[in-house]
Protein backbone atom coordinates (compact mmCIF):
# COMPACT_ATOMS: atom_id res chain seq x y z
CA UNK A 1 0.00 0.00 0.00
CA UNK A 2 2.79 2.32 1.04
CA UNK A 3 4.79 1.55 -2.08
CA UNK A 4 1.76 2.09 -4.25
CA UNK A 5 1.15 5.46 -2.69
CA UNK A 6 4.76 6.48 -3.23
CA UNK A 7 4.60 5.33 -6.84
CA UNK A 8 1.42 7.25 -7.49
CA UNK A 9 2.73 10.43 -5.88
CA UNK A 10 6.04 10.16 -7.72
CA UNK A 11 4.26 9.65 -11.02
CA UNK A 12 2.14 12.69 -10.30
CA UNK A 13 5.07 14.84 -9.22
CA UNK A 14 7.39 14.18 -12.11
CA UNK A 15 5.11 15.62 -14.81
CA UNK A 16 4.36 18.58 -12.56
CA UNK A 17 8.02 19.42 -12.33
CA UNK A 18 8.54 18.90 -16.01
CA UNK A 19 7.44 22.48 -16.70
CA UNK A 20 10.58 23.77 -15.05
CA UNK A 21 12.68 21.79 -17.47
CA UNK A 22 14.14 23.94 -20.18
CA UNK A 23 12.45 22.48 -23.24
CA UNK A 24 15.04 23.98 -25.56
CA UNK A 25 16.88 21.08 -27.10
CA UNK A 26 20.28 21.77 -28.65
CA UNK A 27 20.22 21.19 -32.37
CA UNK A 28 22.23 21.80 -35.50
CA UNK A 29 20.59 22.75 -38.77
CA UNK A 30 22.92 22.42 -41.76
CA UNK A 31 22.42 24.67 -44.78
CA UNK A 32 21.24 22.82 -47.90
CA UNK A 33 24.71 23.00 -49.46
CA UNK A 34 26.40 22.01 -46.19
CA UNK A 35 28.70 25.01 -46.14
CA UNK A 36 27.33 26.40 -42.87
CA UNK A 37 25.29 25.14 -39.93
CA UNK A 38 22.95 26.94 -37.59
CA UNK A 39 23.94 25.85 -34.11
CA UNK A 40 21.25 26.21 -31.45
CA UNK A 41 22.49 25.48 -27.96
CA UNK A 42 23.29 28.10 -25.31
CA UNK A 43 23.46 30.55 -28.20
CA UNK A 44 22.17 30.71 -31.76
CA UNK A 45 25.15 30.85 -34.11
CA UNK A 46 26.03 30.35 -37.72
CA UNK A 47 29.13 28.17 -37.80
CA UNK A 48 31.27 27.26 -40.77
CA UNK A 49 32.25 23.79 -41.86
CA UNK A 50 35.25 23.96 -39.55
CA UNK A 51 33.01 24.57 -36.54
CA UNK A 52 34.04 28.20 -36.03
CA UNK A 53 31.34 30.76 -35.37
CA UNK A 54 30.78 33.12 -38.28
CA UNK A 55 27.95 35.02 -36.59
CA UNK A 56 26.12 34.96 -33.27
CA UNK A 57 22.44 35.74 -33.64
CA UNK A 58 21.46 35.33 -30.00
CA UNK A 59 23.90 35.05 -27.14
CA UNK A 60 21.46 34.45 -24.32
CA UNK A 61 18.50 32.12 -24.51
CA UNK A 62 17.33 32.42 -20.92
CA UNK A 63 13.58 32.01 -20.80
CA UNK A 64 13.35 30.94 -24.45
CA UNK A 65 10.82 28.17 -25.00
CA UNK A 66 11.41 27.34 -28.62
CA UNK A 67 13.65 28.24 -31.55
CA UNK A 68 12.37 27.67 -35.08
CA UNK A 69 14.73 28.13 -38.02
CA UNK A 70 14.85 27.49 -41.76
CA UNK A 71 17.59 27.91 -44.32
CA UNK A 72 16.83 29.40 -47.70
CA UNK A 73 17.20 27.08 -50.69
CA UNK A 74 20.37 28.88 -51.80
CA UNK A 75 21.98 28.52 -48.33
CA UNK A 76 22.69 32.27 -48.11
CA UNK A 77 19.96 33.15 -45.62
CA UNK A 78 18.55 31.66 -42.48
CA UNK A 79 15.48 32.91 -40.63
CA UNK A 80 15.08 32.25 -36.92
CA UNK A 81 12.00 32.65 -34.71
CA UNK A 82 12.83 32.94 -31.02
CA UNK A 83 9.79 32.25 -28.87
CA UNK A 84 9.12 32.98 -25.23
CA UNK A 85 5.95 32.10 -23.34
CA UNK A 86 4.12 35.30 -24.32
CA UNK A 87 5.92 36.59 -27.38
CA UNK A 88 8.28 35.79 -30.19
CA UNK A 89 10.66 37.64 -32.44
CA UNK A 90 12.04 37.09 -35.93
CA UNK A 91 15.74 37.39 -36.68
CA UNK A 92 17.73 36.45 -39.74
CA UNK A 93 21.28 36.01 -40.91
CA UNK A 94 22.36 36.57 -44.47
CA UNK A 95 25.59 36.20 -46.40
CA UNK A 96 26.90 38.74 -48.88
CA UNK A 97 30.29 39.63 -50.29
CA UNK A 98 31.46 41.06 -47.00
CA UNK A 99 30.40 38.13 -44.86
CA UNK A 100 27.51 37.32 -42.55
CA UNK A 101 25.13 39.96 -41.24
CA UNK A 102 22.27 39.73 -38.79
CA UNK A 103 18.91 41.37 -39.24
CA UNK A 104 15.89 41.92 -37.03
CA UNK A 105 12.22 42.29 -37.86
CA UNK A 106 11.15 45.46 -36.10
CA UNK A 107 8.33 45.27 -33.58
CA UNK A 108 6.58 48.07 -35.42
CA UNK A 109 6.25 45.82 -38.45
CA UNK A 110 3.43 43.78 -36.92
CA UNK A 111 0.10 45.61 -37.49
CA UNK A 112 -1.52 44.33 -34.32
CA UNK A 113 -4.41 46.79 -34.26
CA UNK A 114 -5.23 46.32 -37.93
CA UNK A 115 -5.22 42.53 -37.62
CA UNK A 116 -7.49 42.70 -34.58
CA UNK A 117 -9.80 45.06 -36.44
CA UNK A 118 -9.94 42.72 -39.42
CA UNK A 119 -10.78 39.86 -37.06
CA UNK A 120 -13.48 41.94 -35.40
CA UNK A 121 -12.01 41.76 -31.91
CA UNK A 122 -10.51 44.22 -29.50
CA UNK A 123 -8.71 44.17 -26.19
CA UNK A 124 -5.27 44.19 -24.68
CA UNK A 125 -2.65 42.16 -26.53
CA UNK A 126 -1.64 39.47 -24.09
CA UNK A 127 0.55 37.20 -26.16
CA UNK A 128 1.76 36.50 -29.66
CA UNK A 129 3.41 33.54 -31.29
CA UNK A 130 4.60 32.69 -34.78
CA UNK A 131 6.28 29.98 -36.78
CA UNK A 132 7.94 29.56 -40.14
CA UNK A 133 6.21 28.17 -43.19
CA UNK A 134 7.75 27.36 -46.54
CA UNK A 135 10.25 29.38 -48.56
CA UNK A 136 8.56 30.86 -51.61
CA UNK A 137 11.98 31.52 -53.13
CA UNK A 138 15.39 32.31 -51.68
CA UNK A 139 14.29 35.77 -50.53
CA UNK A 140 10.75 35.15 -49.29
CA UNK A 141 9.34 32.86 -46.64
CA UNK A 142 5.82 32.53 -45.32
CA UNK A 143 5.15 33.04 -41.63
CA UNK A 144 2.05 32.19 -39.63
CA UNK A 145 1.20 33.35 -36.16
CA UNK A 146 -1.46 34.04 -33.60
CA UNK A 147 -2.33 37.02 -31.44
CA UNK A 148 -4.18 36.45 -28.20
CA UNK A 149 -6.04 39.42 -26.80
CA UNK A 150 -7.57 39.70 -23.35
CA UNK A 151 -10.54 37.40 -22.91
CA UNK A 152 -8.70 34.70 -24.88
CA UNK A 153 -9.73 36.30 -28.18
CA UNK A 154 -7.52 34.75 -30.83
CA UNK A 155 -6.41 36.27 -34.11
CA UNK A 156 -4.60 33.84 -36.41
CA UNK A 157 -2.54 35.72 -38.96
CA UNK A 158 -0.02 35.23 -41.71
CA UNK A 159 2.43 37.24 -43.76
CA UNK A 160 5.40 36.95 -46.07
CA UNK A 161 8.84 37.78 -44.72
CA UNK A 162 10.98 39.39 -47.41
CA UNK A 163 14.68 40.14 -47.62
CA UNK A 164 14.35 43.59 -49.14
CA UNK A 165 17.89 43.95 -50.44
CA UNK A 166 17.88 47.48 -49.07
CA UNK A 167 20.45 48.71 -46.58
CA UNK A 168 19.20 48.79 -43.03
CA UNK A 169 20.22 50.80 -40.03
CA UNK A 170 22.28 49.20 -37.31
CA UNK A 171 20.67 49.09 -33.87
CA UNK A 172 22.40 48.90 -30.50
CA UNK A 173 22.12 45.14 -30.49
CA UNK A 174 24.13 44.89 -33.71
CA UNK A 175 21.15 43.98 -35.88
CA UNK A 176 20.35 45.59 -39.19
CA UNK A 177 16.75 46.79 -39.14
CA UNK A 178 14.89 47.25 -42.40
CA UNK A 179 16.68 44.44 -44.22
CA UNK A 180 13.84 42.01 -43.51
CA UNK A 181 10.26 43.12 -43.67
CA UNK A 182 6.81 41.60 -43.39
CA UNK A 183 4.37 42.14 -46.24
CA UNK A 184 0.84 41.02 -47.04
CA UNK A 185 -0.26 40.68 -43.43
CA UNK A 186 -3.66 39.03 -43.25
CA UNK A 187 -6.01 37.25 -40.91
CA UNK A 188 -6.10 33.54 -41.59
Amino acid sequence: MKISLISVMTAALIPNFAWSENTLEPKQLPAPDGSYTLDISDEVRVVNSGGSASLTLASNLEGVQHVDAKWSPDSRRVVVVISYTRGSGVEAAYLDGSGWHKALLSDTDLPTDELARQAGVSGRLVSQSCGLGDWLDSRRISVTGELILSGQKKVPYGYTLVFTGEPGHLDRGGFEEGVIKGIEYHVR
Binding site: N60, G87, D107
Partner: protein, 208 residues
Amino acid sequence: MRSVLTGSFVVLLIAGISGCDDSISSPSGGTSDTPTQNDLMQGQQIGNAVSGNQTFGNANGGSGFGSPQDTIQFGAASFTADSFAKIDTDGDPSEQGYDQTWNAQTSGQIDGQPVNSANYAYVVMSQGQMAASGAQIGDWALVTNNETGQSMWARVEDVGPPGGTGEISEACATGVGIQFQRNSNTVGNPSVTVQVYSGSKSISGGSN
Protein backbone atom coordinates in the same frame (compact mmCIF):
# COMPACT_ATOMS: atom_id res chain seq x y z
CA MET B 1 22.30 22.13 -15.20
CA ARG B 2 18.58 22.68 -14.91
CA SER B 3 17.99 19.03 -15.69
CA VAL B 4 20.34 18.06 -12.92
CA LEU B 5 18.63 20.38 -10.46
CA THR B 6 15.18 19.17 -11.46
CA GLY B 7 16.29 15.59 -11.30
CA SER B 8 17.88 16.13 -7.92
CA PHE B 9 14.78 17.85 -6.66
CA VAL B 10 12.59 14.94 -7.74
CA VAL B 11 15.01 12.49 -6.14
CA LEU B 12 14.94 14.54 -2.94
CA LEU B 13 11.16 14.58 -3.01
CA ILE B 14 10.99 10.86 -3.59
CA ALA B 15 13.46 10.34 -0.78
CA GLY B 16 11.45 12.65 1.40
CA ILE B 17 8.23 10.83 0.63
CA SER B 18 9.89 7.46 1.12
CA GLY B 19 11.17 8.61 4.44
CA CYS B 20 7.72 9.61 5.57
CA ASP B 21 6.76 6.10 6.42
CA ASP B 22 3.33 6.42 7.93
CA SER B 23 3.95 9.74 9.54
CA ILE B 24 3.89 13.18 8.00
CA SER B 25 7.22 14.91 8.28
CA SER B 26 7.77 18.63 8.20
CA PRO B 27 9.56 19.99 5.14
CA SER B 28 13.11 20.77 6.02
CA GLY B 29 13.58 23.26 3.20
CA GLY B 30 17.06 24.05 2.00
CA THR B 31 16.55 23.12 -1.63
CA SER B 32 17.45 25.59 -4.32
CA ASP B 33 13.76 26.14 -5.05
CA THR B 34 12.87 27.25 -1.57
CA PRO B 35 12.39 30.99 -1.17
CA THR B 36 14.90 32.47 1.18
CA GLN B 37 13.96 34.28 4.35
CA ASN B 38 15.18 37.42 2.64
CA ASP B 39 12.68 36.90 -0.17
CA LEU B 40 9.86 36.52 2.30
CA MET B 41 10.88 39.64 4.17
CA GLN B 42 11.04 41.60 0.96
CA GLY B 43 7.66 40.24 0.00
CA GLN B 44 6.33 41.54 3.27
CA GLN B 45 7.73 44.97 2.47
CA ILE B 46 5.70 44.98 -0.71
CA GLY B 47 2.69 43.83 1.27
CA ASN B 48 3.12 46.90 3.40
CA ALA B 49 3.47 49.05 0.33
CA VAL B 50 0.31 47.64 -1.20
CA SER B 51 -1.55 48.48 1.97
CA GLY B 52 -0.60 52.07 1.43
CA ASN B 53 1.53 52.41 4.54
CA GLN B 54 4.80 52.92 2.75
CA THR B 55 5.99 55.58 0.39
CA PHE B 56 8.92 55.43 -1.99
CA GLY B 57 11.23 58.24 -2.80
CA ASN B 58 12.88 58.79 -6.13
CA ALA B 59 14.70 55.80 -7.61
CA ASN B 60 14.05 53.65 -4.60
CA GLY B 61 14.35 49.92 -4.47
CA GLY B 62 12.09 48.48 -1.84
CA SER B 63 11.12 45.33 -3.71
CA GLY B 64 12.79 41.95 -3.94
CA PHE B 65 15.56 43.23 -6.19
CA GLY B 66 16.40 46.40 -4.29
CA SER B 67 18.47 49.00 -6.14
CA PRO B 68 21.61 48.48 -8.19
CA GLN B 69 24.66 49.00 -6.04
CA ASP B 70 26.66 50.71 -8.72
CA THR B 71 24.89 52.76 -11.39
CA ILE B 72 28.07 54.52 -12.54
CA GLN B 73 28.72 51.71 -15.02
CA PHE B 74 25.29 52.06 -16.58
CA GLY B 75 25.86 54.86 -19.06
CA ALA B 76 22.90 55.92 -21.16
CA ALA B 77 19.75 53.83 -21.25
CA SER B 78 19.77 51.40 -24.16
CA PHE B 79 15.97 51.33 -24.33
CA THR B 80 13.46 53.96 -23.34
CA ALA B 81 9.67 53.79 -23.65
CA ASP B 82 7.03 56.22 -22.46
CA SER B 83 3.51 54.80 -22.39
CA PHE B 84 0.44 53.98 -20.34
CA ALA B 85 1.19 51.59 -17.50
CA LYS B 86 -0.06 48.04 -17.76
CA ILE B 87 0.18 45.60 -14.88
CA ASP B 88 1.73 42.18 -15.44
CA THR B 89 0.64 39.85 -12.65
CA ASP B 90 2.50 36.84 -14.03
CA GLY B 91 4.24 34.69 -11.50
CA ASP B 92 1.88 35.77 -8.71
CA PRO B 93 -0.18 32.68 -7.89
CA SER B 94 -2.75 34.72 -5.98
CA GLU B 95 -3.81 36.40 -9.22
CA GLN B 96 -4.96 33.21 -10.91
CA GLY B 97 -8.65 33.54 -11.68
CA TYR B 98 -8.68 37.31 -11.16
CA ASP B 99 -6.52 38.57 -14.01
CA GLN B 100 -7.59 37.32 -17.45
CA THR B 101 -4.09 37.89 -18.75
CA TRP B 102 -2.40 35.94 -15.95
CA ASN B 103 0.36 33.43 -16.59
CA ALA B 104 1.94 31.14 -14.04
CA GLN B 105 5.33 31.56 -15.68
CA THR B 106 7.64 34.46 -16.25
CA SER B 107 10.52 34.31 -18.69
CA GLY B 108 12.98 35.10 -15.93
CA GLN B 109 13.32 32.84 -12.95
CA ILE B 110 14.64 33.11 -9.41
CA ASP B 111 15.97 29.90 -7.94
CA GLY B 112 14.15 28.00 -10.66
CA GLN B 113 10.81 29.61 -9.89
CA PRO B 114 8.77 32.24 -11.75
CA VAL B 115 9.37 35.80 -10.61
CA ASN B 116 6.42 36.70 -8.38
CA SER B 117 4.94 39.95 -9.63
CA ALA B 118 3.72 40.86 -6.16
CA ASN B 119 7.16 40.54 -4.62
CA TYR B 120 9.58 41.74 -7.27
CA ALA B 121 9.72 44.94 -9.27
CA TYR B 122 10.15 43.89 -12.86
CA VAL B 123 9.44 45.17 -16.35
CA VAL B 124 8.40 43.38 -19.52
CA MET B 125 10.14 43.76 -22.88
CA SER B 126 9.50 42.12 -26.22
CA GLN B 127 12.06 39.86 -27.86
CA GLY B 128 12.55 42.48 -30.55
CA GLN B 129 13.12 45.26 -28.04
CA MET B 130 15.65 43.14 -26.19
CA ALA B 131 17.51 42.19 -29.35
CA ALA B 132 17.52 45.73 -30.72
CA SER B 133 18.77 47.26 -27.49
CA GLY B 134 21.12 44.49 -26.43
CA ALA B 135 19.12 43.97 -23.24
CA GLN B 136 18.80 40.62 -21.54
CA ILE B 137 16.63 39.13 -18.85
CA GLY B 138 17.98 40.38 -15.54
CA ASP B 139 19.14 43.79 -16.74
CA TRP B 140 18.23 46.76 -14.58
CA ALA B 141 15.51 49.23 -15.54
CA LEU B 142 14.44 52.51 -14.03
CA VAL B 143 10.67 52.99 -13.94
CA THR B 144 9.22 56.46 -13.41
CA ASN B 145 5.63 57.47 -12.81
CA ASN B 146 5.21 60.36 -15.22
CA GLU B 147 2.50 62.01 -13.14
CA THR B 148 4.17 61.97 -9.74
CA GLY B 149 7.85 61.62 -10.59
CA GLN B 150 8.15 58.62 -8.30
CA SER B 151 10.64 56.12 -9.62
CA MET B 152 12.12 52.81 -8.66
CA TRP B 153 14.59 50.24 -9.91
CA ALA B 154 13.37 47.02 -11.44
CA ARG B 155 14.80 44.24 -13.56
CA VAL B 156 13.73 42.86 -16.93
CA GLU B 157 12.11 39.55 -15.98
CA ASP B 158 9.39 38.83 -18.50
CA VAL B 159 9.10 38.84 -22.27
CA GLY B 160 5.84 39.92 -23.88
CA PRO B 161 4.38 40.37 -27.35
CA PRO B 162 5.91 42.70 -29.96
CA GLY B 163 5.40 46.39 -29.43
CA GLY B 164 4.36 46.12 -25.80
CA THR B 165 5.61 48.92 -23.57
CA GLY B 166 4.91 50.13 -20.06
CA GLU B 167 4.16 46.68 -18.72
CA ILE B 168 5.36 46.43 -15.12
CA SER B 169 4.90 44.08 -12.18
CA GLU B 170 2.51 44.69 -9.31
CA ALA B 171 5.41 45.43 -6.99
CA CYS B 172 6.83 47.94 -9.43
CA ALA B 173 3.46 49.65 -9.90
CA THR B 174 3.03 49.93 -6.17
CA GLY B 175 6.53 51.22 -5.81
CA VAL B 176 5.90 54.15 -8.13
CA GLY B 177 2.49 54.92 -6.66
CA ILE B 178 0.28 53.37 -9.32
CA GLN B 179 -2.91 51.81 -8.05
CA PHE B 180 -4.55 48.85 -9.72
CA GLN B 181 -7.44 46.50 -9.27
CA ARG B 182 -7.38 42.78 -8.66
CA ASN B 183 -8.10 42.19 -12.35
CA SER B 184 -4.86 44.11 -13.11
CA ASN B 185 -6.60 47.17 -14.54
CA THR B 186 -4.97 50.37 -13.40
CA VAL B 187 -6.91 53.05 -11.58
CA GLY B 188 -7.05 55.86 -14.09
CA ASN B 189 -4.59 55.96 -16.96
CA PRO B 190 -1.18 56.43 -15.35
CA SER B 191 1.81 56.53 -17.65
CA VAL B 192 5.36 55.44 -16.98
CA THR B 193 8.77 55.87 -18.51
CA VAL B 194 10.84 52.70 -18.59
CA GLN B 195 14.59 53.00 -19.13
CA VAL B 196 16.55 49.79 -19.54
CA TYR B 197 20.31 49.52 -19.12
CA SER B 198 21.75 46.68 -21.18
CA GLY B 199 24.69 44.77 -19.79
CA SER B 200 23.75 45.59 -16.20
CA LYS B 201 22.36 42.25 -15.07
CA SER B 202 25.52 41.28 -13.22
CA ILE B 203 25.35 44.32 -10.98
CA SER B 204 23.89 43.16 -7.72
CA GLY B 205 21.06 44.84 -5.92
CA GLY B 206 20.84 45.97 -2.37
CA SER B 207 18.79 48.08 -0.06
CA ASN B 208 19.12 51.84 -0.10
